[in-house]
Every structure is written in structure tokens, then in C-alpha cells.
């Protein structure tokens, strides 16, 4: 246990560890201090932080731009929901089933792209295309109720059932907090291992990576599959939190875009960027909504405009994202990557 703790904190300054512990403590006690609405906002933030972290493995680490991550989330959600509603199989086992399916979907896209030299924007378009195939396909798939949508029975029990993910927002909050923490630690371990270095090399210059002996095809496949498997959890969570799934929603490109805004605002390729980005974006967007409501204004689409403005500001003023300059200022920089 001490060994693992040492390995996880290796290379972090004392100051960073203190900050992280403080932040984690604040997040742990947050549900006692906040009302249900704010807890729900925090759930959304953590959900996006997790999704951003998963997407970042592909783009931030291995340099492969995916604009179709809704595919993996949607597959995860539908698999877990169908197993639950039809066979009574709980979400955790459902997640175990969803992971390999999402990884396989990622492997198919990766294989087609990397084998036939589809790179850059063309690769991104391919990922969109597959998410769109899934959206249209699921719209006509009887086993998932097609376009009419799949509904999960809403819990009537008085207590929280963690195994079946039926319960109040506080339970969902802790589940997502734990998941986000696991994703952060996993990414840190990946980044500090051989695979992480090889991904960065591929991101920086694929020909040069090949010249130092890295089998780039295989390592890009690993990146897509790990990222897809991790992303499938967001779908499982979505299904059990919202209790409904519509192909039109879960496979929509807007879902894919929402997942990547956090890391882009926070800092692509950094470990903390996706988390910071999710907090900043969702936090500000919700404040905006609250302010508009308080002033009695009803402006549909204000949130989307706000996201657009944020993106413009960050891309223009802080092309690395918010986190890298902030980390340098606080003297807790991650390694130069």
C-alpha cells in the first residue's frame, strides 16, 4: 500500500500533494454543505472531467483527434441498460461487458484509419462518421426500442443501492467522484510508464517515433482501445443517472463535442487540464444560467454561445489551455509535455 502511494506521488512536490489532498477533502465533504441542485452540477462536472480524461488519452497523449467519442459512451450506456432492463444484470457487470465492446469499436476505427494512413482531420471525420452510423443504426434497432428510447425503471426503494446504482444524487456523486479519481490515477500511471512515453513520441512526430523503434500502429491501437473502454463508463453512468437513453441524444455529435471542451479549455495532454476545464466551463455556464434566471431572462442557446466565447478566448489567449500556465505560476508544473 505504501509502495503504491509512493509510486503515485513520486515526482510531485510536497506543495502539490497538499493541494491535491485539500481538493479531494473539499470534494468529499461537498454534498453535506451543498443543496441537491449544486450536487447535481458537481456530478455533471465530474462526469465531464472523467470523459475529458478518457478522451485526452487519445488526443492529448497519443495525438489522435477523435470527434466521435459519443460512440463509446453510447455503446456503454445501451449495453448496460439492455442488460439491466431485459436480464436484470447490474450496471457494474454491464460495464464489464461494455468495456470490451467499446474497445472493439475503437479497434475497428483505429485499424481502418491507421492501416490505411487516415490521419489528422480525416481521422477525426472518420470518428464522427462511426458515431453517426451508430446513431442512425440504433434509431432503427428494435432491441433498444429504436427512436422511442430506452427507459430504466426509476427506483422506488428508500435506500441507496450501490450495486444496482439506484439511489439519490449524493450516491451518484460519490460514484462519479471515485471514478474520476480512478481515471486520474490511471492516466498518471500510464503517463509515467513506457506506453505513455511512446504515445507522446507518436504525438510529437510519428516518423521519428518509428525511427527509435516504436511500433506506432500497435501503440495507437492501444490508445484508442483504452480511451474507448474508459469512455464507455460515462455511458453506463448516464443511463443509470438519467434513466433514459435516446440514440438521437447519446450518439449525437454535441455529446462528443461536450466531452472535449473540458480538456481543450483546461489543457490538452495534461493530467489536470480535463478536470480544471470541466470545473471552469460547467461552473461558469451554470452560474450564467442562474444569473439569467435571477434576472428573469429567458435566452435559449445562451449556454452554447457562452461555450463558444470561452473556447475563442482560451484558444486565442492561452493556446496551451488554462492549466499549464496556472501550474507554472503555482510552481507545480507537470513534466514538460
Amino acid at each position: 500500500m505504501a509502495g503504491i502511494a509512493a509510486r503515485l506521488t513520486d515526482g510531485l512536490s510536497r506543495r502539490t500533494v497538499i493541494w491535491l489532498v485539500f481538493l479531494l477533502a473539499a470534494l468529499v465533504i461537498a454534498p453535506w454543505l451543498l443543496n441537491d441542485y449544486l450536487v447535481t452540477v458537481l456530478i455533471l462536472i465530474l462526469y465531464l472531467a472523467f470523459a475529458g480524461q478518457a478522451w485526452n488519452i487519445m488526443m492529448g497523449f497519443a495525438g489522435q483527434l477523435s470527434l466521435g467519442h459519443a460512440l463509446y459512451a453510447g455503446l456503454g450506456g445501451y449495453i448496460a441498460a439492455v442488460l439491466f432492463t431485459r436480464y436484470g444484470i447490474g450496471p457494474w457487470l454491464g460495464f464489464l461487458a461494455a468495456m470490451p465492446v467499446a474497445a472493439a469499436a475503437g479497434a475497428i476505427i483505429g485499424f481502418l484509419a491507421f492501416r490505411f494512413g487516415v490521419t489528422g482531420v480525416y481521422f477525426a471525420i472518420l470518428t464522427i462518421a462511426f458515431a453517426e452510423f451508430a446513431r442512425i443504426g440504433f434509431d432503427h434497432l428494435a432491441i433498444v426500442n429504436a427512436a422511442a428510447g430506452l427507459f430504466l425503471p426509476v427506483a422506488q426503494s428508500a435506500h441507496n443501492d450501490l450495486w444496482r446504482l439506484r439511489g439519490d444524487p449524493t450516491m451518484f456523486y460519490y460514484v462519479m467522484l471515485a471514478a474520476t479519481l480512478v481515471a486520474l490515477l490511471l492516466c498518471r500511471l500510464l503517463m509515467r510508464s513506457r506506453i505513455g512515453y511512446f504515445w507522446l513520441a507518436i504525438r510529437e512526430d510519428e516518423d521519428a517515433a518509428r525511427a527509435v523503434g516504436i511500433p506506432t500502429f500497435r501503440y495507437k491501437m492501444y490508445a484508442v482501445m483504452i480511451s474507448a473502454a474508459l469512455t464507455s463508463f460515462t455511458g453506463v453512468f448516464y443511463a443509470f443517472f438519467y434513466n433514459n437513453l435516446f440514440p438521437e441524444q447519446v450518439f449525437n455529435i454535441s455529446q462528443s463535442i461536450q466531452m472535449i471542451l473540458g480538456p481543450i479549455i483546461g489543457g490538452v495532454g495534461t493530467l489536470f487540464g480535463p478536470i480544471l476545464g470541466a470545473f471552469v466551463l460547467t461552473g461558469l455556464a451554470e452560474s450564467l444560467n442562474a444569473a439569467l434566471t435571477a434576472f428573469g431572462l429567458d435566452l435559449p442557446g445562451a449556454e452554447q454561445v457562452f461555450y463558444g466565447v470561452c473556447l475563442l478566448l482560451v484558444v486565442g489567449a492561452l493556446p496551451e489551455g488554462i492549466w499549464p500556465p496556472l501550474a507554472r505560476r503555482c510552481g507545480i508544473a507537470e513534466r514538460a509535455s
Partner: protein
Amino acid sequence: MTALLSLAAVSKRFRGLLAVDGVSFDVAEGTLFAVIGPNGAGKTTLFNMIAGATPPDGGTIAFAGGPIGGLSADEVCRRGIARTFQLVRPFPALSVEDNVIVGALLHRHDVGAARQHAHAVLRRLDLFDKRRQRAATLTLPDRKRLEVARALATGPRLLLLDEVMAGLRPTETDRMVATLRELNRETGVTILLIEHVMRAVMALASRVLVLDHGTVIAEGAPETVVRDPAVVRSYLGQSHHELGAG
């Protein structure tokens, strides 16, 4: 003694142009072997075929007794051939140290062990003090040294250096020559270099091959090759001042 690298009748055609035309030569283990020739002679194409960046159209390339012609670049590197690029290509956003760690990880699975090895290589190339800098912030001479360090960290038996002296000032060239010599002497690594800077070739190479229009026009000890009339006519005639400087 058998050759470490052996090329027999290797050819490469780009559309109508025969870039490399039936080139054969052997590089003995532990030597410093230079390939020279005018621009467009086919030197880099030859290099790219050895390194697996482009497959040859004809002929055989053998390394350490096995054929490597047509293997992928990463496979060639895993067999023990590491290269640098003519236009340097370090991983720009990574630190100098991380650049070299990537190379060291080829035959090591533990990052700690790779870092230790990287430090040893960085010391050898005089880059240890700059290990925390981003590679993109290095000066050209240092980026060239970093390319050598990254390639060397993969633990090659053969190092392919594509014009590592180009663009260096004479003092920097001398420094690179000294480094490469020391490297060859102390580690026994075989070095095959493409070079335009005759001053460096004369100081380093134990054997020189001259390419012109894709074919070998001379091969031998450097002192003999520079007196070869065909070599003087096709190549050295244009760079007498460099010889004089060397």
C-alpha cells in the same frame, strides 16, 4: 571478418529517375564509414532504404547476417540500427531528457532504468545540464546532438548519421567529430555517416564511399579517395576551399 552491414546491387527508382543504381558495399563492424557525393547523388535515399523508411526496388540489404531490405523503420531499429534525420526531428514539446528516455525505453521496460541510461547518454553528448529544457528551445547544434543522443539511447550496433555536421560552425564540427570518435572508440558502435563537410570526413572516416548520380564512383581510404580524378571532377572540385580548411 564478416561485414556488419552489407549492400548488394541495391536500387531505387522514383518515377523516371534512378536515384540509386546498383550500389554495393560492406561496412565492417566497429568502423567509421562515410558516404559522400554531390547533392542529388542518392545518399539520403540510400540511407532511407537501410533505415526502412523506403523499401528498395532491387538488391539486398543484410545486417548482422540477416536480410533487412523492406522491413519497417521500427523493426529495423529494433534489430539494432538507429538513425538521425537530415532535418532534425526531436520531439519538440518534450524535454531533452524525455526525448532520450523514449529511445532508451526501446530495450528497457522500466522508466527509472531508462532515465538512468538516458542520463549517461546525455552526459556523453554534453546535454546533461540542458536535460530539463524543452527540445524546441535548443539551438541547432544542440538539437543535432540531441538527435544523436536519442538514436544512441536505443542501443544500436550501427548508427546512421545523416549530415549531423551540416549548419555547424567549425568549432562545433570539431566538437561533434571528437564526440563521435570517442563514442566509436569506447562503445565500439559502428557509424555510417552521410557528410558534406570534408573536414569532418577526413578527420573521422576510416573508409569513404563516393556516390554520383546514384552509382558508386570510388571507395577506399579517405586519403586515396580524395586524390581519385573521378571524385575530384564530380564532387571535390566544387569544395576545394573546404579541403583547404581541413
